[in-house]
């Protein structure tokens, strides 16, 4: 069992959404992506605290884009998953796969 940064469920979801969005990932798009993929819309507060925490853990980095009129002249804060973040996602995915291996769940073909 390798030691590393552990991920909470929602942190895992947020990292996957950022990875799916690529260079278009910022608060609004991340929230929309999570809502589209999970049918559950995260509260803005939960998302922003999670993004801050992920950045403190070194799992994502952020940078400012250009201000736009649509946002009242305020810039977007784009986010990107770091190498450590990708490693944490991979490790969590592997854990889930190990847990699922051999399970017979109704309606899930690969289990």
């Amino acid at each position: 069992m390798s030691a590393g940064v552990s991920l909470g469920d929602f942190e895992h979801v947020v990292l996957l959404a950022i990875l799916r969005l690529g260079p278009k990932a910022y608060g609004v798009t991340v929230r929309a992506e999570i809502a589209a993929c999970t049918d559950r819309e995260p509260a803005p507060g939960a998302l922003y605290t999670t993004l801050d925490r992920l950045e403190e853990k070194g799992l994502v980095t952020s940078w400012l884009g250009e201000p736009t009129a649509q946002r009242g002249g305020r810039a977007k804060r784009y986010v990107q998953v770091t190498a450590t973040g990708i490693e944490a996602v991979s490790r969590t995915q592997r854990s889930y796969q190990r847990l699922l291996k051999g399970l017979k769940l109704p309606g899930i073909a690969h289990a």
Partner: protein, 210 residues
């Protein structure tokens, strides 16, 4: 736009200014399809989320700080008697006849008012500032914890005071003043912490250790 500036100010109570700006930008963008009510509830919920995160991230540090603040409040509460006596004596010396001709009655209510001003406004503001200074960038969380920790001892103090002092003309231990103390004191503790966050010397945000 002033309303958006207010939203940014509210968020900046628990977020760094640049983060508050980008977060408000996101909420403005989302609010174009969701409406004003959603915008303001999101501003408040996001601020609350960050406050709870700050409280939960370093609970021992925040709890120790709140207890230290309570201790300081107690010390200042005792020490404030000296300036109250000095200020009231100065008022009596200079304006005594104007305030009240019956100077024997003046000190009782006058000193009570001064004591309330110190105890409910000035000391909580100073203690709010002091805990904010030691909070490692989590000013609002420190003030919140101090208010929670301080509520019970203050209520007990006022209750005991009301049992001891029933003299006519003494305005302190009444239900109204109990309510004022329990509501206004937290307000000025928070004001002291917010004032420090906006105008005090900038401190590095503590992100390790407890």
């Amino acid at each position: 736009m002033p309303r958006v500036a207010l939203a940014e100010w509210i968020l900046s109570l628990t977020l760094a200014p640049d983060r508050a700006t980008t977060t408000v930008g996101d909420l403005i963008e989302d609010a174009s399809t969701r409406g004003v009510l959603w915008f303001w509830s999101s501003v408040l919920r996001t601020t609350l989320s960050h406050l709870l995160r700050d409280l939960g991230a370093y609970p021992l540090r925040i709890a120790r700080l709140a207890l230290w603040g309570l201790l300081m409040e107690g010390v200042l509460g005792i020490l404030h008697i000296l300036p109250v006596i000095a200020v009231w004596q100065w008022i009596l010396d200079h304006w005594g006849p104007i305030v009240d001709n019956q100077t024997t009655e003046v000190p009782q209510w006058g000193a009570s008012i001064l004591s309330i001003v110190f105890g409910v406004v000035i000391i909580p503001f100073l203690v709010g500032w002091m805990v904010a200074d030691r909070s490692g960038g989590r000013e609002l969380a420190a003030a919140f914890a101090l208010n929670v920790v301080g509520a019970a001892p203050h209520f007990l103090f006022i209750y005991l005071l009301s049992l001891q002092v029933h003299r006519p003309g003494n305005i302190y231990p009444t239900a109204e003043n109990t309510l004022i103390t329990l509501c206004v004191r937290p307000l000025f503790v928070t004001a002291g912490a917010v004032f420090f966050r906006n105008y005090g010397p900038k401190r590095l945000r503590v992100t390790e250790g407890n």
